[in-house]
Symmetry: C2
Subunit: 513 residues, 2 copies
């Protein structure tokens, strides 16, 4: 038995050494990616694509090394998992899953997809500029077909019920198209009711959001927001930083997690909520258990859980009256005279305006879910063969009219607005809406533990909220699939009621309906 255990622990140790190298490499690649978006001189783009291709190739070879497969087999089949603890078993499970995905996809399909992604994104940009879906379509179709082929392989590997489920599983392990369909159909009804009530009420004045706040002042606001949520970008022990990109994002690992934002002089709120959103992502990464660093379990649970944390900070905290009653004086101080006369009531109403629109990334907290439902349904139908790439714009426009009541005038504000399909990220969209749902289930739990959390935020402290999230969500890393994590955190299954209650309570008060 001792001998067996030694062999087991030796094999496990060797496997974790592989995991360590893979995580270190990935974290280095993420820095190179970050540089590409933030600092790289424009002429460097061709060299950069060579660097990234080489590093990714090295990473793929490391991930596919047969020795990893042999080690996992040795542990799983010959020695058994019984003497491993829960964390160790999860590490083996995650390594097995990654290894199978890395090895079962044909080499040629992987490299052809990588090339087609670049081509399709490039075509998308050009077609977008020309407002010409016809020019986009052939490359979109090619990429879609390649992803479908991959999905078919992955379906076998993962044992999912459909190819599309295999793609969803990449971002939201264990979730299926059917379960999402059920949740989303209920969600659509709930959201639509709230939207109708808001649209029938008096409307907020949003003109204050167009006040001109100089970029330099907005930078100081970003630093103040980071300080508020405890995302350290300033001290000698800072593990973060804020830079500027066209589209905000978060990247990094543990002690080096960076966010970006975008400053619009005439839309100061845009950067405020970007910083809070990305800061929410960053806190999740920074709070992962240190003892799990370099292990598969030392990662966020899923894309949806990640979104739950970013939206928690952005929406639940950042768009609350309590936050603004604390932060507005600070904002006014930093913004100079730009915001004179702005009141907490006025600002809170303005940043929470509900209004059906065509562009997802500009949508409010309530209508946002409908944008996601549309994309999910279209993806689902595409993969089920009920819809073709040719029919996509028409199906898109019909749904926007039906679900949101808005008329899409051209594909630039319709089917070509998002980068996800051009980049081949099919299966990702549901995570955005699931994030809102998870977030409010988590909120309901937090309110039991910290009934006075809103008072604390109003008093200028995010500390208790931040600590609660770290202790009840972040600390679990990737120990569970999302459905299990939600059960562990909240004692319940996935459930949209907390989200709808949160919205109804918030918006009935804001709109006085």
């Amino acid at each position: 038995m001792a001998e067996l255990d030694n062999g087991l622990m030796e094999a496990y140790g060797m496997l974790m050494e592989r995991a360590r190298e893979l995580h270190i490499l990935q974290s280095a690649v993420s820095i190179v990616h970050w540089d590409t978006e933030t600092k790289m001189p424009p002429r460097g783009v061709a060299l950069r694509s060579q660097q990234l291709a080489l590093l990714q190739g090295i990473g793929h070879r490391m991930a596919k090394d047969p020795e990893i497969g042999r080690l996992i087999d040795r542990i799983q089949n010959h020695i058994g998992l019984d003497s491993l603890d829960e964390v160790q078993r999860r590490n083996i499970h995650l390594m097995r899953k990654d290894y199978d995905e890395a090895t079962k996809l044909p080499e040629e399909l992987v490299s052809e997809t990588a090339k087609q992604r670049i081509v399709t994104i490039d075509t998308w940009k050009k077609a977008k500029a020309a407002r010409d879906y016809g020019a986009f379509k052939p490359d979109l179709r090619k990429l879609f077909d390649l992803r479908r082929q991959a999905a078919e392989v992955l379906m076998e590997v993962k044992g999912t019920a459909s190819p599309y489920d295999a793609l969803i599983d990449i971002y939201e392990p264990g979730m299926t198209s059917d379960s999402i369909s059920r949740v989303f159909s209920e969600l659509r009804g709930g959201l639509t009711k709230i939207i109708e009530k808001c649209m029938s009420a008096l409307q907020p004045n949003v003109s204050i959001l167009e006040r001109r706040v100089p970029v330099e002042a907005q930078r100081r606001v970003s630093e103040a927001l980071a300080a508020f949520i405890g995302y350290d970008v300033a001290s000698e022990e800072a593990g973060g930083r804020i830079d500027e990109t066209e589209h905000p994002f978060t990247t990094g690992y543990y002690d080096d997690v960076r966010i970006t934002t975008h400053y619009h002089e005439n839309r100061f709120a845009s950067s405020v909520f970007s910083v809070l959103h990305e800061g929410g992502h960053a806190l999740y990464e920074q709070n992962l258990p240190r003892i799990w660093m370099y292990q598969p379990v030392g990662a966020a649970c899923s894309s949806g859980l990640h979104e739950s944390q970013s939206r928690f900070v952005e929406n639940i905290v950042g768009r609350s009256r309590e936050f603004w009653s604390y932060f507005l004086p600070e904002l006014r101080r930093l913004a100079g005279t730009a915001l004179s006369g702005v009141t907490v009531d006025g600002l809170v109403r303005a940043v929470n305006r509900v209004k059906p629109s065509r562009i997802r990334i500009e949508a409010d907290e309530v209508t946002y879910g409908l944008h996601i439902i549309i994309r999910f349904e279209l993806e689902r139908d595409l993969f089920a063969g009920r819809l073709t790439v040719d029919e996509l714009p028409q199906a898109w426009n019909e749904r926007y009219l039906e679900y949101l009541g808005v008329e899409v005038r051209h594909d630039l504000e319709g089917v070509m607005q998002d980068t996800h399909w051009a980049g081949g990220s099919y299966g990702y969209f549901p995570s955005y809406a699931l994030g809102n749902i998870y977030g409010c289930q988590i909120l309901a739990m937090m309110e039991q533990d910290q009934p006075d959390w809103r008072d604390r935020v109003a008093a200028g402290s995010f500390e208790e909220v931040g600590r609660w999230l770290a202790e009840h969500v972040h600390r679990y890393g990737n120990l569970y699939d999302p459905a299990d994590l939600i059960r562990v955190v909240t004692g319940e299954d996935l459930n949209i009621r907390p989200f709808l209650s949160y919205l109804d309570e918030k918006y009935s008060e804001l709109y006085g309906y």
Copy 2:
């Protein structure tokens, strides 16, 4: 014959593919290094050292791949080099040299040296802070012994006459301790005479260099200097950028070459000359022939040649009266009122003050060479066993008194001032002085082609100088060893007379001796 040629070209092509991957990886690593110095949040340091160790390990494995050796052997022994052209033969030569260096050093020695470097630099920093050479000594000795062991192996591989020559050859291929001794002994005499004349003359007023120029203004000055030398950091096709670090440096590859500087509010000239110096390095890298990208020949010739280009821009151009007659009005405009009343005469004299001092990196163009000669002689004697690590401070202080007439009061301003020995870079120092010598041989040639270059600079154009350097120096990349390159560019062997004439002419006018 056709078949042979096909086999040869196939082997050569495969070898160049290996070179391509190595260069791409190195260029990616250089970006990660750059990030470490410029952008990384402080807490990221431990993760970063893991990333760099992993990437270096991957690089070493790639460089030592036996397939590289087999391909070179196949080309050199079985097929022969006759049907290869000069560039191809040089590529083989450089690959062979790198491969031999990578494979002949015992693995254990390499990894022990890597660790000891980090330890010794750390000890150096602490010993410096404590002004305690005794605390530095044991780790310095360990590192020195490790480098001596490596030098002994490399001596065999390279066939140099001594271990120290093998180290010099890393930075200045083909140069030897003996040849440098001869050049430096002549150089010392020449420099000493000029210094004596300057010191006996009336002295320039350097107080204007202490005028307070706000950092924001200095940043704009950096951009103006970059624009002047044609180092593009601003356009949509920029291939460079300027950031801030404690110690200025240049890094990157072809289309992405970045420089750094350091702004001191009360020493504006420090950053001016850093930007010109690093800009000179950057232009060399950017002007390498594009068709040689990813090949060994697509690199700068040597450390000394690199220094010749940085010092050409910094000293020969940047400290000339002509440059300041153009740039001073621009500088005054950018610096606001800080520099009112400053004249070209006054400024040119101030930035060219000759004054023996203790700190190398603060030394002027004339005394600088003596600092280098001291370090070279001490290294040479250490490796020849004529000097021990114990005796180093005393030998250092004696030479500073003898060569420069200055008394070293403590080791912080003496033997512990430089990072090179703590980092194990023995054999590097001579390159600094060789750079000045090469630079003035190159200048003498340029003056034959462009006798009016000073007028062009005075008129605000660096273009002709920049183009001449690109066409007569940069374009050769690493096609020749430095001694050969100097012969190709100037038709002469290494020769200190142009450097001494340049100094004598310049300083006799400045000091009126």
